[in-house]
C-alpha cells in the first residue's frame, strides 16, 4: 500500500489541517439542512446491511480475546459512547473495546480489517465536530486506558506517550525538570494526546509556538489494514518527507496512533499577563492588530465578549470586568530579560488602545485565575442557554475588527445571542450561537446564522475550521475550501491507505462513492434517509 509517493502524502498534510488556512473560494453556500439537532442514526439504516452482518462474527472473535468487562455490547454500556462534545449527533455503536496496550489495538484493527468492520478511535470524546462519533454497526476503540508515559528524556526534551495520556498530564509529568508541553487546548485537563494528534489541536499559546503538528516528532501507528508503521522519529530534525506531519490532523483516517514522541519546551522564566477591558469589541480587535503590528510576539492573545465574560464569571469568578463589551488577555512569556524588555512596549500599546481598565496579573495564582476564566468559557456558556452551537472559523488577523462587527450585525439580525471567545492572535473565531431548542424554529435560525458566519470567514479569506476539525460537522464544507484537484489528491491518499474506508468512516472526507455529489447537497447521511431534523 505504501506505493503512494511521499510527496503527495506530504502535500496533503500541508493542505490538510493546519491553521489558519487560506482559501481562494468566493462562492459559499452551506447546505441548508446541515446542522441537525440530536439526530439519531439508527444502526440498521446507517450502515450497510453487510456491515451489520460482519459485526457478529467480529464480536465472536473479540470475545475470545477480551474479558466481558472490556468488550462492551449491552445497550447501557454503549449509550454513553453515542456522542462526543457535539451532542447534536448520536450514533449507537456496534461495540466498544476498552484496550489497554498497543498490541491489543493492533489485534482489534487487524480483526476489523479482516471482517470489513469500520472502527473509530476514541480518546476522551471531547471533539466538537463529531470526530469520535461512532459508526453505526462499527466498533469504538476506546484508548483512554492507554495512559502510560513510555519514555522520558529530560535532557533531549522529548517524551514518548501512549495516545490516552491526557494533554495536561504531560506538562505535569515533566514540570519537575522545568519543562512543559506547549499546545494548550482549553480542554487540556481532559483531552488526550491521541485526539490532539488526530485534530492537530491548538490553544491560546499556539500563537507563539504553533499547533500540535509543531510538537510531534514521531508517531508509531497502526494503519487501517493492520500494518505497523513508524512515522518520523525521536530526532528534532528529520530527513525526507514529514510523514508524522501527514498523520497529524488526519482526523483518524489514517489509522490509530499508538505511541507519540513529543517535543518539550523549557518552562518560560517569566509571564506578564494583562487583562484589558473595552467598551467595544472593535477596540479589542484593533488592540490585537496594534500588538501584532508592533512586532511583539506574545505567547497568547485572547478576546472574550460581554456574554462570554458573563458566563465565565458565573462559573469561575475570575474577577473579569463584568459589563465590559470585550476583555482582551495578552500574555508575554519567555526568558526573563526578553520579557522585561517587552513589557514597556506592550504597556505603551495597551495604554493607547482605549482600554478603560487594565489589570496585570500579580502572582501565579492571579494568572491561573485569568486563564481559568478563559478556558472554562465554552462550557460556561451552558449556564446562559440550554443549547448552543460552537462555531470555529478563521479570518485573517488584519480583518478581525471587521469580522466581529459583522458577527454582531448577524446576531442582531437573527435575534439570537452570540457569545464570542477567540484566539485573537491567529484570527481563530469561536462564536457560540445561543438558542433554545424547545422554541419552534430557533434551531433553524441558529443554523442559518452559523452558516453565515462560515460564509463570512471564507469571504474574508479565512478557513472553515481553526482547530476543532471537520469531523462530521463540516464534512460538506471542506470541498468548498479546496479546489477539485486538492480534494482529489486527499481522496487518493485515503484510498491508498484505507481502500475499504474502515478508519473513521464518514468524517473529514466523503466516502469515495459520494465524491462528486457533495457540493450544496444535503448531508450524505441525510441523503441516505438516515437522519432528519428532530
Amino acid at each position: 500500500m505504501h506505493e503512494v509517493s511521499k510527496t503527495s502524502i506530504v502535500s496533503v498534510c500541508k493542505l490538510g489541517s493546519r491553521t489558519p488556512r487560506p482559501s481562494g473560494l468566493h462562492t459559499f453556500e452551506p447546505p441548508s439542512h446541515f446542522w441537525v439537532d440530536a439526530v439519531e442514526i439508527p444502526a440498521a439504516s446507517a450502515s450497510t446491511p453487510s456491515d451489520l452482518s460482519r459485526l457478529a462474527p467480529l464480536v465472536d472473535q473479540l470475545r475470545q480475546r477480551f474479558p466481558t468487562d472490556r468488550l462492551l455490547t449491552q445497550p447501557a454500556q454503549l449509550a454513553p459512547y453515542e456522542s462526543d462534545g457535539l451532542t447534536a449527533f448520536r450514533v449507537h455503536p456496534g461495540g466498544v473495546v476498552l484496550v489497554q496496550d498497543a498490541s491489543e489495538v493492533v489485534t482489534v484493527v487487524r480483526l476489523c480489517h479482516e471482517h470489513g468492520v469500520p472502527f473509530v478511535a476514541r480518546g476522551s470524546g471531547t471533539s466538537l465536530s463529531g470526530g469520535s462519533l461512532p459508526v453505526a454497526g462499527g466498533l469504538v476503540i476506546a484508548l483512554n486506558r492507554m495512559n502510560r508515559v513510555l519514555d522520558y528524556q529530560p535532557r533531549s526534551q522529548t517524551i514518548v506517550v501512549e495516545p490516552g495520556v491526557v494533554n495536561q498530564q504531560v506538562s505535569r509529568h515533566v514540570a519537575q525538570d522545568g519543562l512543559y508541553y506547549a499546545p494548550d487546548p482549553s480542554s487540556g485537563p481532559v483531552c488526550t494526546i491521541g485526539g490532539n494528534v488526530a485534530f492537530n489541536s491548538g490553544g491560546a499559546h499556539c500563537l507563539k509556538y504553533g499547533m500540535t503538528a509543531n510538537h510531534v516528532l514521531g508517531i508509531k501507528a497502526v494503519f487501517p489494514d493492520g500494518e505497523l508503521v513508524e512515522l518520523g522519529g525521536r530526532s528534532h530534525e528529520t530527513a525526507g518527507a514529514d510523514l508524522a506531519g501527514m498523520f497529524v490532523g488526519s482526523e483518524g483516517l489514517f489509522g490509530i496512533a499508538l505511541e507519540i514522541v513529543l517535543r518539550l519546551l523549557p518552562l518560560p522564566e517569566r509571564f506578564h499577563t494583562v487583562l484589558a477591558a473595552y467598551d467595544s469589541l472593535e477596540k479589542a480587535g484593533d488592540a490585537v492588530a496594534s500588538v501584532v503590528a508592533s512586532g511583539l510576539l506574545p505567547g497568547a492573545m485572547e478576546i472574550m465578549d460581554k456574554l462570554a465574560i458573563e458566563a465565565s464569571e458565573q462559573a469561575v469568578h475570575a474577577g473579569y470586568p463584568t459589563g465590559a463589551a470585550a476583555a482582551l488577555i495578552v500574555e508575554l512569556e519567555g526568558p526573563e530579560e526578553e520579557v522585561a524588555a517587552e513589557i514597556p512596549r506592550l504597556d505603551a500599546i495597551m495604554q493607547a488602545s482605549g482600554a478603560y481598565e487594565l489589570r496585570v496579573a500579580k502572582s501565579a495564582a492571579d494568572r491561573m485565575n485569568i486563564w481559568k476564566g478563559r478556558k472554562g468559557a465554552f462550557s460556561a456558556v451552558g449556564r446562559l442557554s440550554p443549547d448552543y452551537i460552537v462555531q470555529d472559523g478563521v479570518v485573517p488577523r488584519s480583518r478581525l475588527g471587521e469580522a466581529l462587527a459583522e458577527v454582531q450585525r448577524l446576531s442582531a439580525r437573527y435575534g439570537l445571542r452570540v457569545a464570542n471567545v477567540f484566539h485573537a492572535g491567529d484570527g481563530n473565531l469561536h462564536p457560540l450561537i445561543l438558542y433554545d431548542g424547545r422554541i419552534e424554529g430557533q434551531l433553524h435560525q441558529a443554523e442559518l446564522l452559523a452558516g453565515e458566519i462560515l460564509r463570512m470567514c471564507i469571504r474574508l479569506g479565512g478557513s472553515i475550521t481553526g482547530e476543532h476539525g471537520v469531523g462530521v460537522e463540516k464534512l460538506e464544507f471542506l470541498p468548498e475550501m479546496y479546489g477539485e484537484a486538492e480534494m482529489e489528491l486527499m481522496n487518493r491518499v485515503r484510498q491508498t491507505i484505507d481502500p475499504q474506508e474502515l478508519a473513521n468512516r464518514g468524517k473529514l472526507l466523503l466516502s469515495a462513492s459520494d465524491v462528486g455529489k457533495q457540493s450544496h447537497a444535503p448531508h450524505p447521511l441525510e441523503s441516505a434517509g438516515v437522519i432528519s431534523r428532530a
Binding site: 439537532d37 440530536a38 454500556q77 454513553p80 462526543d84 462559573a315 462550557s379 451552558g382 449556564r383 440550554p386
Partner: protein, 423 residues
C-alpha cells in the same frame, strides 16, 4: 443537552432532574474529577456517562435495570460539580434519580435485607450501638459471611467507646459571643463521641453557647443518598421541628450531615415545609466555617513539630465548598505543619455506605488515598468526616502506617485556649 424528559410527570423533583440534564453540554470536563472514571476508565462510570444514562432512563429509552449498575457505582462524592464549568447540579440529579428509581427497581432478597439493616440501624444511635456490638461478636464468623457484610464488620472499631449523653446546654466560657445548636449525628456519636465533645468544648472556649436539641434525629443523608426519600423527608421534618430559631447557626461536625442538611430544600421540594427547609439550610454551617467567621480566640502550639496531612472530605469540599477554613484554622496551631495530599479532590472511597455496596471500588480508592497520604510523609491526618477517618485509618494500617487520624475539631480543641488565654 436536548432531552425529552417528561419532567412534569416525575413529581416535584422532575424539574431538578431535567434542569441538570439540560445544562450538561457533554464537554467531559468532569471526567478527570470523577474517582470512578479514574479507577474504572469507562464512560458509563463517568458523570457525563451517568447523566446520559439517567436521561435515557427518564426518557424511557433504556430500561432502568440496565442503567442501575453504573448509577449505583456513583459515590455521590460530588467531585464532578466544582469541575463542571456549565454548572450542572449533578447532586440534585443523582439524589432525585435514586429516589425515583428506588420505587421501580427490584432488589434481591439479600440486597433488601442489607438495605433494611443499614437504614434501620445506622441512623439510630441506640440501635447502631447494639448492632455494632453484635456485629463484632459475630465477626469471628466473618469468613463465612458474604464479602460485603464482612467488609462492613471490618470497618467497626475493636472496642466501642462508652455511650455518652451530650449536655443540652453548654454555656460560653467568658463573654458570650454567639449561641448555636449542634447536630449530634448518629454513627459518629457511637463510633467517636469525642468529636462532638471536642466541638462543644472548642465552641464554648470561644465564647459560644452550645445547645444540643434533644428532639433532633439523624440528618437523613444516608436515606436520601440511597434513594429512601420518604425516610429522608421524615428525618428532615423531624429536625425542622427540633432546631430552635433563636440561634446564630446550626453547627455540624460531620461533613456528610452538613451537606445533607443543605439538601433539605431539595428533599422537601414542593411540600409545605420547603421555605422552612431553605431557612434551616441557610443557617447550617460546618463547625470550621462558623469558627473561622467568628474568629477563634487562639491556639497553643504543639509541644513538638508535626507534619499533618489535611484530607478534604468530599461533602465538605465539594458538597459545601468548604476547603479553606479548616486549613486556615489548623495553620493557626504553632508547630503544626499542614501538608497537602496529592489529588486532594479525590474521594477516599468511604462515601456513606459505599463501602458496603461497592467494596472493590471503595478499596481501590482507599488504597490510593492512603498511598497519596504516605507520599507526603505526614505524621498524622486531619479531616472533617467520621466516614473518611475510619476509611483512611484502615487503609493506612493496611499499608503498614498506623498514623493518628483525627477530626479537624479534635486537633483544634486539643490546642485551644479559652477567652482567658489559658489551655
Amino acid at each position: 443537552m436536548q432531552h425529552s424528559i417528561p419532567s412534569a410527570e416525575l413529581g416535584p423533583r422532575g424539574q431538578a432532574m431535567a434542569d441538570a440534564v439540560s445544562s450538561c453540554v457533554h464537554c467531559g470536563f468532569c471526567l478527570p474529577a470523577c474517582p470512578t472514571y479514574q479507577v474504572l476508565g469507562e464512560e458509563m462510570d463517568s458523570p457525563r456517562g451517568r447523566i446520559f444514562l439517567m436521561k435515557d432512563v427518564l426518557e424511557d429509552r433504556l430500561p432502568l435495570e440496565q442503567a442501575l449498575p453504573y448509577v449505583d457505582r456513583c459515590l455521590g462524592c460530588l467531585g464532578c460539580e466544582p469541575a463542571c464549568p456549565s454548572g450542572v447540579q449533578y447532586g440534585d440529579l443523582i439524589t432525585s434519580f435514586r429516589a425515583h428509581s428506588e420505587r421501580k427497581r427490584s432488589r434481591t432478597f439479600f440486597d433488601r435485607l442489607m438495605r433494611q439493616v443499614v437504614l434501620q440501624t445506622l441512623p439510630y444511635t441506640a440501635r447502631f450501638r447494639w448492632a455494632a456490638r453484635l456485629g463484632k461478636l459475630a465477626s469471628f464468623t466473618s469468613p463465612l459471611l458474604p464479602h460485603r457484610l464482612s467488609n462492613m464488620l471490618a470497618m467497626l472499631p475493636a472496642q466501642l467507646p462508652p455511650s455518652e449523653q451530650l449536655p443540652e446546654v453548654t454555656p460560653a466560657i467568658g463573654p458570650r459571643r454567639a449561641r448555636v445548636a449542634l447536630l449530634a449525628g448518629c454513627a459518629q456519636q457511637v463510633l467517636a463521641p469525642q468529636i462532638n465533645r471536642a466541638a462543644i468544648e472548642l465552641l464554648s472556649r470561644n465564647g459560644v453557647e452550645v445547645v444540643v436539641p434533644q428532639a433532633q434525629g439523624c440528618c437523613g443523608a444516608l436515606a436520601a443518598h440511597t434513594g429512601a426519600d420518604r425516610l429522608a423527608m421524615e428525618a428532615a421534618r423531624k429536625n425542622l421541628r427540633a432546631f430552635p430559631g433563636d440561634i446564630n447557626a446550626v453547627v455540624t461536625t460531620a461533613a456528610g450531615c452538613g451537606s445533607g442538611m443543605h439538601e433539605y430544600p431539595l428533599w422537601l421540594k414542593g411540600t409545605q415545609e420547603e421555605a422552612q427547609a431553605h431557612a434551616l439550610a441557610s443557617m447550617t454551617k460546618d463547625v470550621c466555617v462558623f469558627l473561622a467567621e467568628l474568629g477563634p480566640v487562639g491556639f497553643a502550639p504543639l509541644a513538638d513539630p508535626l507534619r499533618v496531612a489535611y484530607h478534604d472530605a468530599c461533602h465538605l469540599a465539594h458538597g459545601q465548598g468548604v476547603r479553606e477554613q479548616p486549613r486556615q484554622l489548623l495553620q493557626m496551631i504553632g508547630n503544626l505543619e499542614l501538608v497537602e495530599v496529592p489529588d486532594r479532590e479525590f474521594c477516599c472511597g468511604s462515601a456513606g455506605t459505599y463501602n458496603l455496596e461497592q467494596p472493590e471500588v471503595a478499596t481501590e480508592l482507599g488504597e490510593r488515598k492512603a498511598a497519596a497520604i504516605v507520599s507526603t510523609e505526614a505524621q498524622a491526618v486531619a479531616t472533617g468526616n467520621i466516614g473518611c477517618m475510619v476509611q483512611i485509618e484502615n487503609h493506612l494500617a493496611d499499608a503498614g502506617r498506623c498514623l493518628p487520624v483525627k477530626h479537624t475539631i479534635e486537633w483544634l480543641a486539643d490546642s485551644c485556649l479559652d477567652g482567658h488565654g489559658s489551655e
